[in-house]
């Protein structure tokens, strides 16, 4: 295999693996802020028990997120040197801002969040938790800004030619608020909230069906379901906003999402289907005029198809993009349904009698993960053959100095270490869940001070 394929496989593999963890950190971080905030407000011990328990799971996802995140930063230079030279002026400043404004905040206060229970007052601890959560939110901002710039470049001009051509920044805020940044950040945030909320629900549903930690888990499920319901519905609107943006800014990508080969007025919407790439046809269940309705709120309106783009400017994997996109949307709908059903039964005080539904919630943890991954696949594959939309092709972005045997070596190495990492994650997660939250009486007294004079210890 050649360097391009190997490097693309490596990048896809390492970023998909990475993208399991930061959304969980953001999502669980939100739940931590909620439960610890509730504790400070009500002084009810059960919220502290919840917070302490989830802190341990948070630590796990955060640790793996950091380790796998460093990989991404390095790969820009190692595998995509031409890309790095091309976008360094722009991508670099977003990455540097992420490090300084976000990553430093979250990683520094993580130490206090994990190890500081007996060292600082509850208020300072809560501020640390909030710092870690906000840091992870800021991280998402800068990373999605960098990626969105690749989707919809803005605030730049091109200097140089050929190998030496590169994009230079002309307006920082125009770069940050490029046409797709805001809607994509919101979409990614809420996807992360859902990943966290459904893990939260899953673990507590598991305890309930197993008759363990009943009190805590009923509270946990309540918090989780409220979050899941609010955010799954919000996500419906944000998803729509994102798709609108794609239609406006990246019509070729939208056409790939929808398997839309021919420019039509009105345009049909496939609920599900199969794309025959050879004959440029889609077979499946469609709503006549549905796509026009979604985009223009009326049953007619022209939607650009792939036929308006030169073959070399079209993404090549239309069927895969179509399926990933439709699966993401489908799972999103499923999440709304599950959350509403759960909330309804909770309101009727019947949820805990329906073991079958609790079991579904135990396994539903996989759904937001899949939706996040599929959405990301669709977004990134839909941008092809461009790495920077309309400016730099993926095939031109490679490191010229790297040979196939080197990438093969690293790919094998990543397969090994990531397998170990995944086994570790599942093993530790399982162990922490099996161990469960500590009994409230064990954490009844925070042993303040411990003989260290510490000005953060005061209440």
């Amino acid at each position: 295999m050649d360097v391009e394929i190997l490097s693309r496989i490596q990048f896809a593999f390492t970023i998909s693996f990475h993208y399991i963890y930061p959304p969980l950190s953001i999502g669980i971080g939100l739940m931590l802020v909620i439960s610890e905030g509730m504790f400070l407000k009500t002084h009810n011990k059960k919220y502290e028990v919840l917070t302490r328990f989830w802190t341990k799971i948070f630590a796990l996802t955060f640790g793996i997120g950091v380790a796998t995140g460093i990989v991404m930063e390095f790969e820009f230079g190692t595998n995509w040197a031409t890309y790095s030279r091309y976008v360094g002026d722009i991508f670099g400043s977003a990455l540097a801002a992420e490090g300084i404004f976000a990553f430093a905040l979250e990683s520094s206060f993580l130490g206090i969040l994990l190890f500081g229970w007996n060292k600082v007052s509850p208020k300072v601890h809560f501020i640390s938790t909030l710092g870690v959560f906000l840091g992870s939110m800021f991280s998402a901002i800068w990373i999605v800004v960098a990626n969105s710039w690749q989707q919809t470049p803005a605030g730049y001009h091109i200097v140089g030619e050929g190998m030496m051509a590169k994009a230079e920044i002309t307006d920082f805020w125009e770069m940050v608020f490029n046409p797709s940044s805001v809607e994509r950040i919101l979409h990614v945030w809420v996807g992360a909230f859902l990943a966290g909320a459904f893990l939260y629900i899953s673990v507590h549903a598991y305890y309930l069906v197993r008759d363990r930690h009943q009190e805590i888990s009923k509270t946990g499920i309540k918090l989780g379901l409220i979050a899941a319901t609010v955010f799954s519905i919000v996500q419906l609107f944000l998803g729509h906003l994102s798709a609108d943006g794609v239609a406006k800014n990246q019509p070729a990508k939208l056409a790939a999402f929808e398997g839309h080969y021919h420019t039509e007025d009105p345009a049909d919407l496939y609920l599900f289907g199969w794309v025959d790439q050879e004959n440029k046809e889609v077979y499946g269940l469609k709503v006549p005029g549905g796509l026009s309705l979604l985009l223009y709120q009326t049953f007619d309106g022209k939607v650009t198809g792939l036929d308006k783009f030169a073959v070399e400017d079209q993404p090549s994997q239309i069927n895969a993009i179509f399926q990933f996109y439709h699966l993401m949307v489908g799972i999103g709908m499923l999440l709304i349904g599950l959350s509403l059903l759960g909330s309804f039964l909770l309101w009727r005080k019947q949820l805990f009698n329906h073991k079958w539904l609790l079991w579904i919630f135990v396994f539903a943890v996989i759904l937001p993960q899949l939706a996040n991954q599929f959405g990301w696949f669709a977004a990134e594959m839909g941008r092809q053959p461009w790495v920077v939309y309309g400016l730099l092709r993926t095939s031109d972005a490679l490191s010229k100095a790297v040979q196939a045997d080197q990438v093969l070596f690293s790919l094998i190495m990543f397969s090994l270490i990531y397998s170990l990492l995944l086994v570790l994650f599942i093993y530790l997660l399982n162990k922490k869940i099996k161990h469960g939250p500590e009994d409230a009486h064990l954490i009844d007294h925070r042993p303040h001070q411990q003989g260290i004079n510490n000005f953060f210890t005061k209440d």
């Binding site: 040197a81 360094g88 002026d89 670099g92 430093a104």
Partner: protein, 345 residues
């Protein structure tokens, strides 16, 4: 070209990157060094204390690597691209050991079995040591330079290009420096018998570092005289190696007097001085093209645009005090000797 205090933007950014890597060396340096000597600490309880001495801070320390890498990418994208693609294998190994180290720290305390803990103690030591070594290997390659074409791409770098005598010597120097630094840190965090053992290890590390530093300096002077030319040009710069030697010599003196906090400050100063020496030797080059001086990467042909550097200087000016404040708070909270509790590894 725009300037602040008479320094142009690329030079300023060169200083920012240098300061960040210096911060990274000082902070992650001690936890890597402490990790590299972990296996030489006996008994499970003592190893736990050593591990928990770095437990709350190692993750925050690694942030400096991420920020350092980000600023290098942002400020000098051409250099970043060339260096990382030419040094593909050492950087990939570096990542491998970074991940393995995180796994070791997380995994070790999760089971009681002796073989289990020994296994993760071994990988923790190996990975910490290899990270410290590989950082030096890359630095050694930067100092030597390598052949570059007119697009600033490395010419045909093969799998093992990075392994050459000088790179290995620099690698062993950074490893022993970090181990010495780590031993001083552990002496601040331990008590009793473990403390006595740490002090013995510290002595060995100091000797090893001084030997490696001497070999490295001689090797540089004999084989890479171009690195010393700047000092001939501006003799006043000779103050820097003199200060470095004084700072290094001060460490055993303070250790003997049991002033470990001062010793730690001086090993931190040593880190900075050695990096300043590197910076002075290179500036304004970043990567010397050994085949053709015209292809050398300098801070000027590698730099991001004036506009971008200006923006990032603003970001750094706002962000740096914040980062320093966080770092200060965290170290303040975990100040003092390690006490194991239920949150410990």
């Amino acid at each position: 070209m725009e300037t602040i205090l008479g320094l142009d933007y690329p030079t300023l950014w060169f200083l920012v990157v240098g300061a960040l890597f210096s911060g990274y060396g000082i902070l992650d340096g001690f936890d890597l060094g402490a990790g590299a000597m972990h296996l030489f600490i006996k008994s499970d309880k003592n190893r736990r204390i050593a591990l928990n001495a770095v437990g709350p801070v190692w993750d925050g320390n690694e942030v400096w690597l991420v920020i350092g890498g980000g600023t290098l990418f942002a400020g000098f994208p051409v250099f970043y691209a060339t260096l990382f693609s030419a040094m593909y294998i050492p950087f990939m190994l570096f990542i491998f050991f970074i991940i393995l180290r995180a796994i070791s720290i997380e995994f070790r305390s999760k089971e009681q079995m002796k073989w289990w803990r020994n296994l993760w103690d071994f990988t923790y030591t190996l990975s910490s040591g290899m990270i410290a070594f590989l950082l030096g290997v890359v630095l050694g390659n930067i100092l030597q330079g390598f052949p570059l074409d007119e697009n600033y791409e490395a010419i045909n770098p093969h799998l093992t290009m990075f392994l050459n005598p000088y790179a290995i010597i620099v690698g062993l120097t950074t490893l022993t420096l970090m181990m010495m630094h780590g031993a001083i840190y552990l002496s601040l965090k331990t008590e009793g018998k473990l403390f006595d053992h740490v002090v013995l290890m510290l002595e060995k590390c100091m000797i090893a570092f001084i030997i490696m530093y001497t070999i490295m300096s001689l090797y540089t002077l004999i084989f890479f005289p171009h690195l010393a030319e700047r000092f001939k040009e501006y003799p006043v710069l000779f103050i820097l190696p003199v200060l470095a030697v004084l700072s290094i010599a001060n460490i055993p003196r303070l250790a003997k007097k049991q002033k470990y906090l001062s010793a730690f400050i001086f090993s931190s100063i040593t880190f900075s001085l050695l990096l300043i020496l590197v910076a002075v030797q290179l500036y304004p080059s970043l990567l010397i093209a050994t085949n053709n001086p015209e292809n050398t990467i300098t801070i000027y042909n590698a730099a991001a645009s004036q506009k971008s550097l200006g923006i990032m200087l603003t970001i750094a000016a706002i962000g740096t005090p914040l980062v320093l404040t966080y770092t200060f708070i965290v170290y303040r909270v975990f100040w003092g000797k390690v006490k194991l509790d239920e949150h410990s590894y």
